[in-house]
């Protein structure tokens, strides 16, 4: 019986990575859910919006590094993030003006918006691949660890190390700041309130004199900020590869749907639920169980429920369960 070592192992391989991943998913899902609430369609281009913002941030990071500017122990990418957000905001506002606004005026069916977003997805994907290529890019610099496994072992005298990477810490802190800002904005400011009103009941909101184009504009800016932040944090924590960002669409959508489409709090909850299940189901629990039971109980198998290659199956499975038993999501979402 060695509860401490078991807990440290679990924290090192499940709790910390899943929390960071959950924060990234939550930020992504918030973007999806906001678009769904205000513009009322599922934006398939969201993964590629994230990729675009991250790409601009990477270029800005390289520029800063070339100019000799770094952010000390923190990654330079954080300094470059505002530029990435600005560029992404311009891009999504541009796509809204040229593409989505037309269908809004036509009062087109939601599925037409979705098909238009497929076109946008192709174009953004093309732009990203055109500029930065299809390869892996690592752009994290600064201090690698807040606590490295060795320091932790020396500090505590335990057998197991606990590594807490800077990028994981930054992910959690930045995500928290972003979420607090978002909720402050939605609940306390006039514009935020008008956004929520618009999302709840479009006709009533229009009656009370809310300008829909302004609401849409602000939504896109917020979405650009959330998507870029999510993308940069994911890229810092893992690495940047356009195709991976496209594939993130599935867990992000799953998070938003599980939480209840259109419900920001649900999106956060969904993000963490998906992240913890994905990491938990694909983690081999052998060591943890080994510490908890007597030595002779050490299991033969890895005690891994699914191989990591099937992580998509996890988000998909949770999605199916929610769709079957609670189609509007855990927190009540919309169902247009």
């Amino acid at each position: 019986m060695d509860v401490l070592n078991a807990f440290v192992t679990l924290a090192n391989f499940v709790i910390i990575p899943a929390t960071a991943y959950g924060a990234q998913l939550a930020l992504g899902a918030l973007g999806v859910t906001l678009i769904y609430g205000i513009l009322r369609f599922s934006n398939f281009a969201h993964g590629d919006t994230m990729a675009f913002g991250t790409m601009v941030t990477i270029f800005a990071t390289w520029g800063l590094q070339a100019a000799g500017i770094t952010f000390g122990i923190l990654p330079t990418a954080l300094l470059a993030l505002p530029l990435g957000i600005a560029a992404t905001a311009l891009l999504v506002i541009g796509t809204d003006r040229t593409i989505y606004r037309f269908y809004r005026q036509q009062k087109a069916k939601p599925v037409i918006f979705v098909i238009a977003s497929l076109g946008v997805m192709f174009i953004m994907n093309g732009i990203v691949r055109f500029f930065i290529g299809v390869d892996d890019q690592r752009f994290a610099d600064g201090e690698r660890f807040i606590i490295s496994a060795r320091t932790f072992r020396d500090m505590t005298g335990l057998d197991e190390g606990l590594a807490f990477r800077t990028t994981q810490g930054i992910t959690i802190v930045v995500a928290m700041i972003a979420v607090i800002l978002l909720f402050w904005f939605l609940n306390r400011t006039r514009t935020g309130k008008s956004m929520r009103a618009f999302s709840d009941n479009e006709d009533l909101a229009l009656l009370s004199g809310i300008n829909p184009e302004r609401v849409v504009l602000i939504t896109w800016i917020i979405v650009a900020a959330l998507a870029t932040t999510a993308g940069v944090l994911y890229g810092l924590d893992k690495s940047f590869k356009p195709f991976t960002y496209f594939q993130l669409l599935l867990p992000i959508f799953a998070s938003a749907i599980v939480g209840g489409l259109g419900n920001p709090l649900g999106a956060i909850l969904g993000g963490f639920l998906i992240a913890f299940s994905e990491v938990g189901v694909t983690y081999a629990f052998r060591k943890v169980v080994g510490y908890l039971g007597p030595t002779e109980w050490q299991p033969d198998g890895l005690l891994q429920l699914l191989s990591t290659d099937y992580k998509f199956a996890v988000s998909f499975g949770i999605l199916l369960i929610v769709l079957l038993f609670k189609p509007t999501g855990i927190m009540k979402g919309k169902s247009v």
């Binding site: 369609f41 599922s42 398939f44 593409i99 037309f102 939601p110 599925v111 037409i112 979705v114 098909i115 238009a116 497929l118 076109g119 946008v120 997805m121 192709f122 174009i123 953004m124 994907n125 093309g126 732009i127 691949r129 055109f130 500029f131 290529g133 496209f246 594939q247 669409l249 599935l250 959508f253 799953a254 749907i257 489409l261 429920l305 191989s307 290659d309 099937y310 998509f312 199956a313 988000s315 998909f316 999605l319 199916l320 769709l323 079957l324 189609p327 169902s335 247009v336």
Partner: protein
């Protein structure tokens, strides 16, 4: 089919024909035929998606998964079985899969049989857990044993060793089975949910193909799948063929490759023709009218006593099956199953571009879109390269911008496809050949 052909349709098909003939003259007939054969396969995929979208308004973005299942069918049907693998653990693998399926069926039956309450959830959880553990116990050892048999050349169970053409309908059946599972759960909910569910199942199917080595060798690929047509080498050695070729005075090597491609094209045209005929019959039948009535107004169709959900399930399965057949045909054409090549942009979203551009709700439109967009997809790359070379002609060799632009020309096709989709959706939302 009753009204005869619109001159506009003939003209559009004529234009696409000119594109292909032009490719034959400018590049080579081999290239033109290669594009044409994949164009035929794409047209069939587009027909399948058009059934779901055009007939019933279902938004399926998991085409890639159904296509891949069709590809799997070619391996399962035509590859020779591996007896050593079967004796090592084949039955155990099958037994494991049966156990897994029984668990799920049992859990569903229990769920339906037991009264509502906490006990029901608990019992189901226990059944699922026990079933899963049993499944892993039996299945894992079996799969390991199978994969250990000569992993460099086999390491899988192999297929049934039956004729390859049988794989085409089987591919359709496999896809139909997967569609049934998805449809049962996601149909009847909002349209976006079906989209996400299909997106997910497609990724999972590809993950299974990549990782389950016992099934189809995973990323080690299955190559040398049987062909329904003779091999070029055999043709080049056949006296009769050589005699024919020398009569028309052609080069035997080129002639043999072209003959093989023409044979494939003939087979594919047969399938495409049959499918178009069936689709047109269905479209003009009472069933087709009912489908359109449901699509245009679900509420009033339901009020007329039409079972919307099961009709949707029906058309979803049919459309997916057609995609499965196309997938099997494609793998047959390639003679190999390479799970790594299945990309959603290429196999799901490109098919959507074909349907939207061609004309949703029109079978001929979908076919036209299939040929046109596939031709563009292939040709935009060299055209983009030409364009970039033109743009950068003034720059010095080795200039980084020039190098980068030339390297990136390949990604022009995504940009072009997105542009085409958006332009058609905006200015001609009913597509090139609109629904009648």
């Amino acid at each position: 089919m009753t009204r005869g052909f619109d001159p506009k349709i003939l003209m559009l098909f004529g234009l696409v024909a000119i594109l292909f003939v032009g490719t034959g003259f400018v590049q080579s007939w081999n290239t033109a035929l290669t594009i044409f054969n994949m164009g035929l396969v794409s047209a069939i995929m587009a027909l399948g998606v058009n059934m779901q979208w055009g007939y019933a308004g279902l938004f399926n973005v998991g085409v890639m998964g159904f296509v891949a299942l069709g590809g799997l069918a070619t391996v399962l049907v035509s590859v020779e079985p591996v007896p050593e693998a079967w004796s090592a653990g084949g039955l155990q693998v099958i037994l494991g899969l049966v156990l897994g399926a029984l668990t799920i069926v049992g859990a569903i039956l229990l769920w339906n049989a037991m009264p509502k309450g906490r006990l029901r959830g608990l019992v189901m959880l226990v059944v699922l857990l026990i079933g899963f553990t049993l499944f892993r116990r039996v299945f894992d050892t079996g799969a390991e044993a199978v994969e250990a048999i000569n992993p460099a050349s086999t390491g899988f169970l192999g297929g049934l060793g039956l004729p390859i053409l049988l794989a085409w309908p089987v591919g359709g059946l496999l896809a139909a089975g997967a569609a049934w599972i998805i449809g049962k759960t996601a149909l009847g909910l909002r349209s976006d949910y079906l989209a996400i569910a299909t997106l997910g199942i497609a990724e999972i199917i590809i993950a299974v193909l990549k990782n389950e080595d016992w099934l189809a060798r995973g990323v080690k690929n299955v190559t040398g799948i049987d062909r329904p047509v003779p091999y070029e080498v055999d043709l080049q050695e056949s006296e009769r063929f050589l005699g024919l070729v020398s009569n028309i005075g052609a080069d035997p090597v080129t002639a043999s490759t072209i003959t093989v491609k023409l044979l494939y094209a003939a087979l594919f045209i047969l399938v495409l023709g049959l499918l178009i005929w069936l689709s047109e019959k269905a479209w003009n039948s009472p069933w087709g009218r009912m489908m359109r009535a449901i699509r245009d107004n679900e509420v009033s169709a339901a009020a007329m006593g039409k079972d919307v959900k099961s009709r949707h399930l029906q058309i979803f399965i049919l459309g997916s099956a057609v995609c499965g057949v196309a997938g099997a045909m494609m793998t047959t054409l390639d003679s190999q199953l390479v799970p790594g090549t299945y990309q959603p942009l290429r196999f799901t979203f490109l098919i959507w571009v074909m349907v939207i551009v061609g004309g949703s709700g029109n079978n001929w439109g979908a076919v036209l879109g299939g040929f046109l967009i596939w031709w563009l997809w292939v040709q935009v790359e060299p055209l983009g390269l030409l364009l970039m070379q033109g743009l950068t002609a003034g720059m010095a060799d080795g200039n980084w911008l020039r190098e980068h632009l030339l390297d990136s020309a390949a990604h022009m096709r995504l940009l072009t496809m997105g542009m085409i989709l958006l332009l058609v959706l905006r200015f001609s939302p009913r597509g090139l050949i609109p629904e009648r």
